[in-house]
């Protein structure tokens, strides 16, 4: 007997329209339709616009660098700027962000330098910024694991009576992982000051959402955990900011966690090693290009008279400067020290690692001696390299 999946499923209930404050055409949504959320003020919207434009330019630049073969990999967030920028903008400087590998533009917006963001994707080191200075956890590659870290950190802050909130970013695929469930459940039971922001970009690499889950929305899942859930237009930065800010405020006020789903779309491939034409139609991508989060806000701001040409040009220039700085950092090769391999494994030094370190140092010394011997002595660079290696050894 074959199982008829369709007939055994609970009839699909149509998802409600996502919450939005500015519609696709850039018009404000009537307040009777916004669930009590109101448009952020103009200064805030301008700031969100500026941050999105700069983030977009950075993302496009890094993708280009990947295509030039100058980065090992880069997961683009093109089209997801509204979710990313809202997440960062809703936080105070003392709050913590727990990002995934796709959230580099959130790091940029929180002040991390391009060179430090790209340390991992260049292959220099696993993760390359000052976590405590920026209050950003290392970008997590295993899915949903960082959500538990966010819950733990937020709980520790609560125990210490600090006002710190943790916001964690997840993808739609990550919500299928057990750790997402455990994080939602722990947070709700412990009333942890944490905000879960799921960027539903509709694909987990190649697997579409309807093969990922059978319920209406990810936000609906919040009901089962006993916390508020919001289904938001992830391409409307005004709505994303309003809802995320409210969730952060609620967490800070001791009201526990919130689950937010931003419905968006991944315009680019999963990474440069992925061919999206195998699993989705170009026409679908075009539909979503038409819902661009930056264009939408720009239309709104222009129609409100809140964005001047001079301002737009100034922001565009700032974006170009960021792109230039990003290219510039690629011209400087990070100095990698092979012996650093052994430096950060344990706080307490181990004899066995010291032995392995010594063995590598000996190999390096031998290599550079061979190089020096086979190089004419007038080649000063070889001599310098040799000296440096000896000094390390």
């Amino acid at each position: 007997m074959s199982l008829n999946v369709e007939s055994t499923r609970i009839p699909t209930v149509l998802a409600p329209p996502p919450l939005r404050l500015i519609d696709d055409a850039g018009h404000p949504v009537d307040e009777s339709q916004t669930g009590g959320f109101t448009l952020p003020d103009t200064a805030t919207l301008l700031s969100l616009y500026r941050r999105m434009v700069i983030a977009r330019r950075f993302d496009v630049q890094v993708t280009a660098l990947t295509r030039q073969g100058r980065l090992a990999t880069y997961p683009s967030a093109l089209g997801q700027e509204a979710c990313e920028i809202a997440a960062v903008s809703a936080l105070d400087s003392g709050d913590w962000l727990f990002p995934t590998y796709r959230d580099s533009i959130a790091l940029l917006t929180r002040g991390v330098k391009p060179a430090d963001i790209l340390a991992s994707f260049r292959g220099d080191w696993h993760s390359g910024y000052d976590y405590y200075e920026h209050r950003i956890a290392p970008q997590a590659t295993p899915l949903a694991t960082q959500a538990l870290h966010a819950v733990g950190l937020a709980t520790a802050a609560k125990l210490k009576r600090d006002s710190t909130v943790a916001l964690t970013l997840l993808g739609d695929g990550a919500t299928s992982e057990g750790d997402a469930h455990e994080a939602f459940n722990f947070a709700a039971v412990w009333q942890a000051p944490v905000v879960f922001l799921v960027q539903n970009n509709q694909f987990a690499i190649s697997v579409p959402l309807d093969k990922q889950m059978a319920c209406r929305t990810i936000a609906d899942k919040a009901i089962g955990y006993g916390m508020p859930g919001y289904f938001v237009d992830g391409n409307d930065v005004a709505a994303m900011f309003a809802v995320t800010s409210a969730a952060v405020d609620a967490a800070r006020a001791g009201k526990g966690p919130t689950l937010i789903e931003g419905l968006t779309y991944r315009i680019e491939a999963h990474t440069n090693s992925d061919d999206p034409s195998r699993y989705r139609n170009a026409a679908d991508v075009d539909v979503w290009r038409g819902r661009d989060p930056i264009e939408r806000l720009e239309k709104f701001l222009l129609s409100e008279g809140a964005l001047s040409e001079a301002e737009r040009a100034s922001i565009a220039q700032e974006a170009e400067d960021t792109a230039a700085a990003t290219r510039e950092c690629m011209t400087v090769q990070a100095v990698v020290d092979p012996l650093e391999l052994f430096e950060h494994v344990y706080a307490n030094p181990r004899p066995a690692l010291a032995e392995q370190r010594a063995a590598l140092a000996a190999e390096l010394a031998e290599d550079s001696a061979t190089t020096a011997a086979s190089t004419v002595t007038t080649d000063s660079t070889a001599t310098t390299a040799n000296t440096e290696t000896d000094a390390r050894a």
Partner: protein, 336 residues
């Protein structure tokens, strides 16, 4: 038991089981360091299924001792976030095989965080895992998972075999800035000793010679230390002098102490409950052979559990390494 008053130890000798020594270690660590927090399944009012956390909830309250939802990945994952915020979490996995849902968090994050962040994020977490068999536990309650953890760089893996070490090593583990997998042999929880706390034994990373001998070195840890000592006792009747070393720390491995013993006796056997193939004993035998081949009079033996899933209670006596089995194995060496 008397308690520390105003920082002055006013304790007298008392008979402690390993479980109560562990309990005292956690209590003293929590008293000395307000950042130490304890959580896991049933560690609160119940005091843990083995009563290792007995009374701590009443003494320190829910902010420092708490029952977590039943989810091991969640326990370890949230401990990571707490450690990032300046706490020193001590978490319990309740039973060995229950730690497997947390494998991802332990291997991908606990072990690697220092390395990924170039030393900027330290995770001073102690993950207590009651492990091994010989207590008549049903399936999934008697595993020896040490090889998974010892083959993961970034973790410290230790296992005490007696109450004094249990206290001393747990205090050191909680104070350590490295994450520690603290493996508690369930069958030894009720082992008793007369102690005056606080007690400090050998450094956690070192192996200890429990019994001197000249003919054979037996390497054991956790549950098999008692077995090795019993073997040595039996062997004296046969005129065989056995040295017994309690490894205590599985990672790091104390090469110096063990190699010195090997060079004295020239014959070594490793005893553990876990399966043999790809097991911890294989690493011990290989590294000792690499360093000491010309001092060996015979191949290094492994007397271990069979390469099968841990058996049901009525069969475990056939599975566990026994003194007879160890002596029989040793007797098959060529003795000249």
């Amino acid at each position: 038991m008397s308690h520390t008053i105003a920082g002055v130890a006013t304790r007298s000798p008392e008979t402690l089981t390993m479980a109560s020594a562990l309990n005292a270690a956690i209590r003293d660590a929590m008293t000395d360091d307000p950042t130490v927090v304890l959580f896991g399944e049933d560690v609160g009012p119940l005091g843990g299924v083995f009563r290792v956390t007995d009374g701590l909830y009443a003494e320190f309250g829910e902010t420092r001792v708490s029952d977590s939802p039943l989810a091991e990945s969640g326990i370890v994952g949230t401990a990571i976030g707490m450690a990032m915020y300046g706490m020193r979490p001590v978490v319990e996995m309740q039973f060995d095989a229950f730690s497997y849902p947390a494998f991802q968090q332990i291997v991908s994050h606990v072990a690697k965080m220092r390395n990924r962040t170039r030393g900027k994020i330290a995770l001073p977490i102690v993950i207590r895992i009651p492990y091994a068999g010989d207590i008549g536990g049903v399936e999934h309650h008697s595993d020896s998972s040490e090889a998974y953890w010892t083959s993961t760089p970034g973790l410290t893996v230790v296992s005490p075999s007696n109450p004094a070490d249990a206290y001393s090593m747990l205090r050191e583990a909680i104070a350590s800035d490295d994450p520690v997998i603290f493996m508690e042999p369930k069958s030894r929880y009720w082992t008793k000793a007369e102690l005056t706390l606080p007690v400090t034994t050998a450094p956690m990373a070192s192996a200890v010679i429990l019994r001197e001998g000249t003919d054979v070195t037996l390497l054991a840890y956790g549950p098999t230390v008692k077995t090795a000592l019993a073997t040595a006792e039996l062997a004296t009747a046969e005129g065989l002098s056995i040295e017994v070393i309690d490894l205590r720390s599985l990672s790091p491995f104390d090469d110096a102490t063990v190699s010195a013993s090997l060079r004295k006796t020239s014959r070594v056997a490793v005893i553990h409950e876990a399966a043999q193939f790809g097991g911890y004993g294989a690493e011990v035998a290989a590294r000792l052979t690499e360093r000491n081949f010309f001092y060996l009079a015979a191949p290094i033996l492994r007397i271990t559990g069979f390469d099968i899933p841990y058996p049901s209670p009525k069969l475990e006596e056939y599975f566990l390494p026994t003194p007879d089995r160890i002596l029989a194995a040793i007797s098959r060496w060529e003795w000249s």
